[in-house]
Symmetry: D2
Subunit: 473 residues, 4 copies
């Protein structure tokens, strides 16, 4: 949950939430999206249906900025889907705010909310346009709507299946019509998507933390390649693709998900604490205090401290009030040492040997900055321990890592990185240690995670060309 | 730093910051106020002078909402004071946003920023009005300006001294003119106010965390009853009152101040950790996990856990994105268990005996809510430990505690409170234990703190009538 | 120019403006749209191209609210088109704000601005959707873009011609691409569209008053069924349809156009003055003063007064500051006589026989209101003279008349209307008198005007079904 | 009513409106201010009392921008005063928006709304400040409040009288308390202020046009030096000063007031028409058409045309939609002839000898611009006739004329001015002709008008020093 950070190096795409047949579906979706706010802060949107027509509201900004009681009143309706989108640096992109809504004589009204990234969307879009389709957004998601609208299949369910079969990439997808809710996950299950039950109403959410907030019970994860259809006849599960090697994104455990979410039954806070313990096993350090980079590394730091028997301290403090319009200090002020967001606590680290736990190193600039903060505050030694393996390959499934040239671990050894960030020692967690610490129940330990950013083995077939594209950028 | 909480029970008045003779004083004040943001979120303001006239900007909202680069550019000037004010529920109160600015042929331009509360302001105001003065705000601070304007003393310094001598209460005060900066603290030193040095420029701040942010060195605290005058002739210290019994507000250590601030040389995080250790000494508990109420109780919880040898866990997670316009769930949704801001982490607390550390109990409603959250998430036992003594008396020095009737500890025993909040056990820290754990260097351990909210011994003479007024309310 | 009136009974669709190859095209379009503001106040938009890509800005509100210097700077470019849209009562319709922009691999970037109304757009849209097209707006104009995108013709010019050939209705149309500007008018020439020259740059405008504002010379009207193509090779005129019976909307002369515009070489103010003179010839009145309903009837009233030798007076005064958010008086205040927008001048009309000139009667409520105002102010007699024939049929070409049931003249005789509005006498101008007074140069006097709203003879073939639809509404 | 013009040369201060004891006083004040909107567009404000406390709303912008139904609901109350303020070029001046509100133990709550200008406010303010008063605004009006607050008289009525006796200048003044409304006019009666009756409720307004709008009957003008007190005992009239030579501002008839207002029983439109007739008597012209500069000169132009027997035409058209944020054309566009706000109608003036009537010439730039517009549109001759005498002296009573150096008639003969503005002939109305045409009923024709801007005879004693100050500026 350090996503609003000015020095964040990883960004994710989105969160989705849906409720079927509940009298306060719009309000529940509001609370659900609010619980998923860490997955995206650019825009928020909700679409509801009363079985006849849609009501909707989408706006730039946080969930509680985008909605108020009057708006929720206006869009009230028994079935709803919602979406939060992550913050970009570009112009206002309200037209890209989801759920996207489409309507035509052929397919009626359709609202789509997705979390993830298609790797073949550009090609599909070009083909559709050459046949006369006109796109209104730059969003992947619109491609799905056009594929459905163009399908010659007789029923909407078959149209949706035909459309999904053409997609490659990572996606958790909700499609709302006035008659039904369609819920789908990509064949590799890259992004989490869970089903819950609130009374008699099914709810769906990118993370289970939203279930706790709305009082729903977790039922099960939506399966890779599964399409759920919820309509007047109840819920049924169909397949639009053969399930492939299961490959949930490792960074959901390491960094993205909220500590109180469970992914496939494993609590994220506890998994991170085990990552910290494992990290101590693999790379102990002689030190006086352990500190974590708030907030995402706190759990791992506590785990490390407990395993090491070294006190865990708040050696770094984050200002909670850094917002989107924060003014960067001028060059001269930066040189005078004006800090924006993160402070080292002098009385805690002065004269101490400090273990600093972080969840990842992407470009290395943040780590160098933090090591420097600690040294300026008087730390005698700074030992950096990272609760994930080195990130060497770009992600094509919705994480906004830098391109490969900017990934410090792509071209540098651990020792080189240590020197670049100015630490006294540096260690990363091993892939094997990471998998074991997370503890997914798959019998074969290397299965079940997408490790592409660590080892370059992309689960979808397009990886080769994508990497090449990525390098060409 | 849990001040934006929807269930906060304590609120403080403000933070002040000032810089003398620095080319980027306005920007530094912006960063300083940002570091003090936890002391007030209602409005922010900065006034600068170039020696000839003032420039200023004041606005409702957070520092980074109230200011942008263009505004800072417009108000640039070598000497600046700034202010953050806490959030009230009333109407827009922009006219009360500080620094307040006054101007007259008698005193020239004057800007005032204060943190604290006067206990005799109503009487002073009435007297001034009967002599023909007209007040524009409902702020205590305006009284000070009118006293200065009415003074018949020949120099501004003497006018200020005469005015300050009439005030009773708690205040850290900055007065800016085009020629000088006046810095004063009340005779009891109730609110913290520190002096720092940034190159050759003096800076003043309610808390030292702002010094770290702007790169300044801490010099010393401003003393009770001291008036500092900084003008073309340098800085000199004069006295406007005999220093009284030193009585810094205990809650600055317990709750208000940022963990990375030092008050009178004592780091707040470490003091809180010691409060937690002391709390374990006084009231141990048999348990499986220790958790703190984020964020203000985290340090105490870690201290307790270390002393007890029980694992410290994130058993409660706070949603960072609850803002001022957050919609409260409807009654029916509340009954269904929709939670707004704080979640208990089921996998962490389920089936466990949990020690829940909080910094204080005021009305008790928050504690009951949190105990309930933990139980719903499956906690087997909930042992509540409070890192401060019971709050039995209202504060008249700037903390917005409820009036006496609402203070649960005013009329109830610890056992009664335990029952009301539904805990398996409950213990508060003893006043003596609190003082020792904080460890202020005064030779006599009972000196140096204001303990009025715990024991009713108010440092100023007006306490008796004030309490009576308070009870009459 | 009484379009902002709270009691307006006629509303028109839009105004368009375009400039080709001028270094300050965006600014000129801003001034041009400003001169056309009376044709639409809901939204304003400008799209420019530098030959490579579009820049644009569209916003709800008036031209000078929607644009500022910074925005014009940002969208600067040598070729531009713009649009003003009339005010509706519905929700925010920003997505309908023109120029609409489309983009695809098949047709590149396309921006469309239209004034008018298609009568077969619903049917065309349905056909396109059944082939898989998805529409984003409820605007007629999007149909044109989809027809172009779907066309299998090899060049864009041929695609545009094929698309236009399928349209039925009234339209003045500008289509901008990165390579060319297309300018077209429907085969009946229902809406005015003129070509001007500013230095070497062609400009196009719904009304000539915009040419005066930007300093351009009038060249000629765009002809019915003509398509102008302006690209790197210069300007060429092609035909996409046989020119039909010329049928310019009569209400452009009577009401819509600005008095300083010329339509087909005839100045609107002078035409209106002749309408007033003719009206006196057809229906003189014994009276002391002549007054017009400001502002649209002023010219006709002056003409009537001059012909009659009766003084023209400001007997009715309009408040210029009635805006979109004006609060209607409560019922009790209305009964007390609170007036909103129009006042009768007591000293001018008291004890006088007043001729009140208005341009049209649609539902009759406005006329009754004004007659009543004059009587309350003491007028002894009120003789209403209308400078157009009775409106008996709805318009399908872009004028928002009420449906047929609401047209007072559809079901009532002149004498009945007189009684309903409370006038001492009432007369309308004859169609023949109107045509002669306007003085269009066509040899056959009945040619050249669309008189459908007076006589039901719709120039396009779909009139019959349209009227039926209209009645069914 | 051409006050929103970008080329206006005269600006006035304000309008005031008040209602006593009417259940919908706030709404009535809203409509009243709306009718006075032409007197000031910078800000609008209303204060009401229910006899116990004030409610108020003040905001920058037009009346219908500043208020909505919800706000009017919130400030509902049986007695109300309101104010509109004219537009300045400076920063946001919301603190100067009236009615100003003051409160103290000595005088209770006080709200003041004034129209006019004090000539001795600076001196009074300085004296008050040296006694310890602190001012919050730069408004004259605050001086009045401080004088009242400082007064040692026993009753509020006597305090008000004592305060008014110290003022010099022009003012129409409303003072609201929770018990009474005080209404006063300066001893010379420079600004109009009328009393009306709406049922049993007294209303007061700067102009009578507001009475027509709210349905009130005109009773009489408030007299020079009169103080009306309306309280629980009814209304009584007292004197705070001997009435001086009556001197109503001539420009109220010539330019400021709405044509449908009566001042001292004389209708403004009819007075202007007589000014036009008189102008023709004094300075006839051989011409083909007469045109007025819209909107303020329309009545005079009609009068001239009727007297001359020359057709009155709309030779100049004003764009109604020029607002406060209108973008000025760049220099290059200005040279190309881009016009902003006023257009000459080519078909009307081409080849014609044109009489152009305007109400005044201040700096001459506007007249030159308009003459030029007419010539560019083909006018053969342009004869300028001004319906007032030459403005040679600055105004100190609330009209924002340029200082003396900028008044073209201060230093130039009529022939010189004619040449500077490029007219074929130029004539001003004589002072005597103006007075006769307006037709005020005073027995001595030179009495009753303030003619200071024409002849330098200022009615208040401070004129000499003021003129000197004015020249020194």
């Amino acid at each position: 949950m350090r996503h609003e950070s000015v020095f964040d190096e990883l960004k994710e795409e989105c969160g989705v939430f849906g409720v079927v047949s509940h009298p306060e579906a719009a309000q529940l979706t509001y609370y659900g999206l609010h619980a998923l706010q860490h997955r995206g802060q650019e825009s928020a949107g909700i679409v509801t249906t009363d079985g006849y027509s849609f009501r909707h509201h989408r706006q730039m900004g946080l969930v509680n900025e985008a909605f108020n009681g009057e708006i929720l009143e206006r869009i009230a309706g028994p079935t709803a889907i919602g979406h939060v989108r992550y913050s970009t640096t570009g112009d206002s992109m309200l037209t890209n705010a989801q759920p996207l809504i489409f309507q035509s004589a052929a397919i009626g009204q359709l609202a789509l909310a997705t979390n993830g990234n298609l790797v073949n969307s550009e090609r599909l879009k070009r083909e559709l346009e050459m046949q006369g389709s006109i796109f209104q957004t730059t969003s992947d998601t619109e491609v799905i709507a056009h594929l459905i609208a163009k399908s010659r299949k007789p029923t909407l369910e078959e149209k949706v299946k035909e459309a999904l079969a053409q997609l490659k990439g990572a996606y958790a997808l909700l499609i709302l019509t006035n008659d039904a809710l369609f819920v789908a996950q990509d064949p590799h299950g890259l992004r989490p998507l869970s089903m819950g039950l609130l009374g008699d109403s099914y709810v769906f959410s990118s993370e289970t933390c939203a279930f706790d907030v709305v009082g729903a019970e977790f039922v099960r994860a939506v399966e890779p390649g599964e399409l759920l259809v919820l309509d007047g006849k109840g819920m049924r599960s169909v397949r639009f693709a053969e399930p492939a090697r299961r490959a949930v994104c490792s960074f959901e455990y390491i960094y993205f998900a909220r500590p109180d979410s469970d992914i496939d039954g494993i609590n994220v806070h506890l998994a991170r604490k085990r990552l910290g313990k494992q990290l101590f096993q693999e790379a102990p350090a002689e030190a006086d205090v352990v500190t974590g980079v708030p907030d995402s590394s706190t759990s791992a730091a506590i785990g490390f401290a407990e395993a090491a028997g070294i006190p865990y301290e708040l050696g770094l403090i984050k200002n909670r009030y850094v917002g989107r319009t924060f003014i960067q200090p001028s060059q001269s002020l930066r040189e005078q040492g004006v800090k924006m967001k993160l402070s080292a606590v002098r009385k805690v680290v002065q004269g101490k040997r400090v273990v600093m736990i972080d969840d990842s190193i992407v470009r290395g600039t943040t780590s160098r900055h933090i090591v420097n903060l600690l040294r300026e505050a008087g730390a005698e030694e700074v030992h950096v321990r990272i609760s994930s393996p080195p990130v060497k390959f770009p992600c094509f499934y919705g994480i906004d890592t830098a391109d490969r040239k900017q990934l410090i671990a792509a071209d540098h050894s651990v020792e080189e990185i240590r020197e670049m960030i100015g630490a006294d020692s540096l260690a990363f967690l091993s892939p094997k240690g990471m998998i074991e610490a997370v503890g997914r129940s798959d019998s074969h330990p290397l299965r079940g995670h997408c490790l592409a950013c660590f080892d370059g083995n992309y689960p979808t077939e397009t990886e080769a060309e994508s990497v090449l594209e990525g390098q060409a950028r």
